[in-house]
């Protein structure tokens, strides 16, 4: 195996393709960006728009429009914050929650399939390694800094 970067380049491309292909639920096609958005709204507790936009590294104006389209699709709800009327908090509708859960399930299913090509020991090692990697990337000063998790 050539260099370290090649390893990660291929891995990220594979996940990119995966997300590109695997985000449709029922009749409803969800883009990769939208799927990240739903995921993050689901995970964070009553987040503001700024919070999510920052987490995802998206410009707030772009994000504003992304939220609008998800509201039109009846997947996301936007509520004014009672303590600060500039702020809107985001949450998933029942349908949005269902879609998010389904995507989660699809991804987990896929990952299970991938793990089926490994030994149990390898699987454990991969899971532990990804956790280690996430933690280390979180400590890095350069990029990736704004991402929570």
């Amino acid at each position: 195996m050539e260099n370290t970067r090649a390893l990660f380049q291929i891995m990220t491309r594979r996940f990119g393709l995966l997300n590109k292909n695997c985000c449709s639920v029922g009749g409803c096609d969800i883009s990769l960006t939208q799927s990240h958005l739903l995921y993050e709204i689901d995970v964070q507790h009553n987040p503001s728009m700024q919070q999510i936009a920052e987490t995802l590294g998206t410009d707030i104006t772009t994000f504003s429009r992304q939220v609008q389209s998800l509201i039109k699709m009846n997947l996301v709800r936007k509520m004014p914050d009672p303590t600060d009327r500039r702020i809107f908090t985001l949450s998933l509708t029942a349908e949005g929650k269902m879609i998010a859960t389904t995507i989660d399930q699809q991804m987990n299913d896929y990952l299970e399939e991938v793990f089926s090509y490994m030994t149990e020991f390898e699987k454990e090692s991969v899971l532990r390694s990804v956790a280690i990697l996430n933690e280390a990337m979180g400590k890095s000063s350069r990029c990736c800094a704004p991402v929570k998790g």
Copy 2:
């Protein structure tokens, strides 16, 4: 750590942000897509347009324009194949090679920084795990199939 998907979701987002921020060389800004393109042309031996487009999972028409803009930037060269005149093979110009190498270096530097937050044992484990992951994803029937490596 919640579920398996969360782990990979965060990892892929981090790499996405990384690529978004870390692909400028000198005055010349390279998009994520362009960086993948340069990488793949560099790695494959005199690939045709179809080959690279397929590897990257990009529509050939989109790809055709991406190549055009890289040619305009004098990073990529397009040569007609002598044995089949429908085919054009791609290669990097000296400048393109330089840019690709620099991006490679930047990514490796960044990865080294990330590894610096780990023990040597963890680093070994992470590298081995990514290789295992790539191989397993390559075997998967679902997505990611067209990607070489």
